[in-house]
Symmetry: D2
Subunit: 394 residues, 4 copies
């Protein structure tokens, strides 16, 4: 059944890997001929072709995702302070309206408080030993090796720095969390490189026979219970206290109504074995990530979060959302490309020193979305809202 | 602290909710003035403004995400048969190259077999009763109410149909899975509407005092263990048998090397309490979803999957990937908009009757990515590959 | 390093596997000589030695666990109706007092309602195929094979019967849940035998090349999210409505106090990635299982449960507990041995037809324990209670 | 419906809470009259009645569980060295034989290596603040409060000591792990008391307004993903390398056969959303716990573990088991009572300084059980073994 792939069947790489406008056009023609599809929209990318180098291979243009604004969103953070209008890229009708409603209610109530609680990233290689005794010995010896490890690791980067290592022995294997500070970058490439260098050093020095640079225990781009302990991106929280009259005015329900939805749906999540609990954090975060040039696949870990609603003294609503593993960046990756950069600039979040600010805005945004979604359930208006704003598709 | 929001601080809705090209431009000017950002790229959207109605509110243009091609990918499915070139939208350098490598190896080996195992979607409302006795009685009575429920539910849609209902009683509450067939649409709006109508009927007929249309147990846009039992989108699998020489040629490792990475990283995932096990399914799926106009937030459930590598008779590699909750659509949502439609057409997957085909291609694509990622770990080339193709960002 | 084990170093099996009183004594002397321990208590077993055959090998006597009574516990079930005094075997001081307090409060409030929601058990073999296509074909063919399977399976037992089979394909493997009704036995031996016979038949008939009789997906004696869907033992629930004055009188707190503990500790469980949510279900169930001759290792699945507290109209407390996977028996296993039988008789639960009754009592008991534990947290009396009743051990 | 409970309906407490032999007898007569049950076996307890004080309330005697021996088990630990015969209390036929087989094979291969990797216990109270800003501030201030906390906590006990505190902020709440060293006791009563004292001090000093001493995040007596990070009891591992000929001789299968069972059943566990992966750890640990006077409800956390089988160079089998949360004690609780003490003495594990030794023996025992169980699946002999040794109950 197996036969060689003809050169003609490979996607054309073209000169210099093909990052000129002409190369993109040639590749588009190539695929149009093969498939009959016409790529007028895809070819209308305004990102200078050469700028795509390092972000994508075999480029043919850009995908376009409708972009809208949700706001005003008043944030009372340590890094983000003031009113924001949040760019969201999505094709799900009613999503922007829902987040806008939540943002407005929060703003009306004086804003959402937001805090970055921990801020680091990790790579978790696994070291393989002859037996459990050697693995245990390595785990115990690791603290005294830290200075050497750190010297090797930090030498690979001007921006990140290794904070600590934590061994997780299991039989004859030892997973080691390498915890890094990555400044305003997501930084996975950076810290994988530094971690790999440190691992090589351990092998060269005879401390371990071999390793794989990923073990899966890092939980990069996956949902896991381990995310709640922090360490994979920023742990950030946002909260607000909403007077009952605002809950009624904006959400057509009561604080008790929202608290009741919360408790019932917590039970639903527990029965499903969900990682965490929330209404629809994935919706707002994904739209924010696409808009702001983030690594969207990190939604898998970033959308794990815990939302809380309760009635407090005076009959007001207290609401919070905590994202234990928000991986956002304001430098590197897609943050400098076309619309990504524009959207970050809209938030005053482009470039160095801005990642914590973006994290606080994201948490406040998501808080608004949780309120709005919960209210749609509580008030029974969910279907009506989607009838009004969504496409009556079918 | 709280004061009214001034009209001027609201995002301009403009006439008819503002879906003309002028409305988008006006909204862009409004936000540019407020923030100082310049939205040249965002304003270069080629999606006709009016077509965004139903997909987004407060539109200002479109986000652009670099789009590349991975292929050839030979798929031996029941719906997808032949060679495909898969459009991927991402800003993560090396991702397309990684999936391309996997696709080529699969193709060289005769293609990936793919199967859609189950195909449905669900909404899981929760009904609230006075006490556990009444809740239990309702659960037991539900089978005999099915015909009535189905009549109410099916009357709300021309495309979906209610397949069955499954009660999950818990104390005085009963979550009920409403399982639907949704044809080629993701269909959440459709089936929420139908389910809501059936719920109202239950209340009107006196079978239940009240309900919330979502309980969280449906696991829409969230990772959960319950996804593995199926019922939230398509359950799809793909596999391939790779001769050892192809593993060496394409991946610079051996079948035993990949099997070893598999077993070590399974242990890492187990320790992290991950939902499922895989290398980086989120990467390829997210890029495919953005390209093809899918609801990208569904990555939260779709990227939950289980990858398997093993050495088989003859020393070959057997590899499979199973996605228990792939929510893809070829009609509705963003599938008809600009680049989304173009990318679906590139795959021969636009329109009615094509969703199972898209699901098979997605599974085969992901299989390639799993092979390539695993191999990068096994061979120790992960860092080098990202040095070559990724942006040396920092 | 390896050398043969001398005959003298093996535990003496003795004649007929050594189930006479003399054999037990001889084995005790043997181990006493080797270890210097004196086994006066262990040798005081009153279980006739020969009756241990089939329940244990290499017997030397019996372990003794202190046995106490918690009650009165008024149960309003479908199978259990009236007041019960529940035997609990434990060495944890304050445990019986805690459950007694909960039972008394429930009784004072008119009793706990209890319902068995589903009642079955399962074995989940995994079948191995050449590739995913064959695995998918087998999954699809399974419904039409059911009659044949059932005939094979049911022929192996006079008591159980196969209810249905549910395939879970994954790559080239197919896990199949064999769902059985097991009458009043736990029945694992029975249904493993029947399932194995059905699997052999499938292989003989050429439907599958090979299988393992356990896949792990059955979740026997392990905690898993899959338990909440039911199918591994009895799913049972109990609830009660407690007037605020009884909450104060018995628990020194308020309905709002208990509801507050509930919501805070739910958040704690979510962060830990716990399977389910409850206060200390494992405590009461374990003590009940040891007392009543149950298979105590089944605590691993049985103690997975969800507790709920809420304030309802009138300011009363509503409390429920749901155990999705309670594996209790009133025939077979250790139910007929010495104290096991006596304790079952104390509850009117010995023998055929009584397992659902035992399940209802267990759920009501656990509900009392949850109330008492939650109250100890809410009132801040937890430490004081353990000072009073627990051993000031160290 | 509610009416007072008559004094006569309460379990008689009797003088001094009723811990004399006469009191037990009187209570037995009382329950016999009420229920018609005869408690000859339960009344044959040889534990001096007064010694039950602090371990149980309302005592009526003792439950008897058949006790058998599994061994020889050769352990090469740091604390346990030599051959052990392990007392197991169970009513599940074939269990002792299965563990005996595994122990013998391990012994024949030169013994199991065992290591205690971490050794601590924790209580995780939750502190409640006005809002997220105050909660974050508390989390950040915690390190500087540690000395004060430790002084308060350590003053409550002569045996334990507080090692560190770790905050987990979430919205306006902060769970704090209080990590303790508890010497040879399980120590929950001890460390809850010490933690409670430290919490009171925090409130008195104005650092926090209020708290609950348990948040659920401690994972005491429950299965959770968080257990794999350690901190709840002892993390212990055991491994062995078995030559292929011993695998054949003892287990009637091959190293490859066991490795195959491992990989298939890992997939089954992943689909079930199980916490960890293992064959039947709960079986052996439960039997050991009942025999040795442990707190058996801790099976819920202790039986969470990860087993690993693989074929290594030379075609041998490598097997390991890791228990991340083994809560065993050799002082306090039921360790000094009758059979509990005798069984600990049989293992040379009674009293101070012996808990790590018991942990190593437990891990080695469980390793044997995993091998034997896996082999029964691999060889297809599972059903036959239970036919031979189990009770043909029904």
């Amino acid at each position: 059944m197996s036969k060689p792939i003809r050169e003609a069947d490979l996607v054309p790489r073209l000169e210099g890997q093909g990052y000129s406008a002409e190369a993109l056009a040639e590749r588009r023609r190539w695929i149009e001929e093969r498939t009959g599809a016409r790529l007028a929209h895809a070819g209308s990318s305004t990102i200078p072709a050469e700028e795509m180098r390092g972000n994508i291979e075999n480029p043919i243009g850009a995908a376009q995702v409708p972009l809208g604004l949700a706001g005003p969103l008043l944030v009372q953070g340590e890094h983000a302070q003031g009113v924001f209008y949040v760019p969201l890229a999505t094709t799900e009708g009613a999503l922007v309206r829902s987040y806008e409603r939540g943002a407005a209610a929060i703003t009306r109530a004086g804003g959402a408080t937001a805090r970055v609680l921990t801020d680091e990233n990790r790579v978790s290689p696994v070291f393989l030993f002859e037996n459990a005794a050697e693995a245990a010995a390595f785990s115990r010896r690791l603290p005294e090796l830290f200075e050497g490890l750190k010297a090797e690791a930090d030498a690979t980067t001007r921006h990140g720095r290794l904070l600590r290592v934590e061994p997780l022995p299991l039989g004859r294997e030892v997973v080691v969390h390498f915890a890094w500070w990555t400044a305003d970058a997501h930084g996975m490439n950076m810290i994988v490189k530094g971690t790999d260098q440190a691992c090589r050093w351990l092998v060269e020095q005879g401390h371990a026979p071999r390793y794989y640079v990923f073990s899966g225990a890092e939980s990069e781009k996956r949902a896991s219970g381990a995310l709640f302990a922090g360490g994979k991106g920023k742990k950030v929280t946002a909260d607000v206290r909403l007077p009952a009259r605002l809950v009624r005015a904006y959400f057509h329900t009561t604080p008790a109504g929202l608290a009741d939805v919360w408790r019932r749906t917590v039970l639903g999540h527990l029965q499903a074995g969900t990682t965490g609990y929330n209404g629809h954090i994935a919706n707002g975060l994904t739209a924010l990530f696409i808009a702001c040039g983030q690594d969207v696949a990190n939604i898998a870990n970033s959308a794990v979060g815990i939302t809380s609603f309760e009635v407090v003294e005076g009959g007001d609503l207290y609401a919070s959302v905590t994202l234990p593993s928000l991986t956002v960046a304001t430098v590197g990756g897609g943050t400098g490309l076309g619309t990504g950069r524009e959207c970050l600039e809209m938030l005053g979040c482009f470039g160095a020193g801005k990642a914590p600010k973006l994290a606080e805005i994201a948490a406040a945004l998501v808080l608004g979305g949780e309120l709005s979604f919960g209210a749609a359930i509580a008030s029974g208006e969910f279907v009506a809202a989607h009838e009004t704003y969504g496409r009556n598709r079918i």
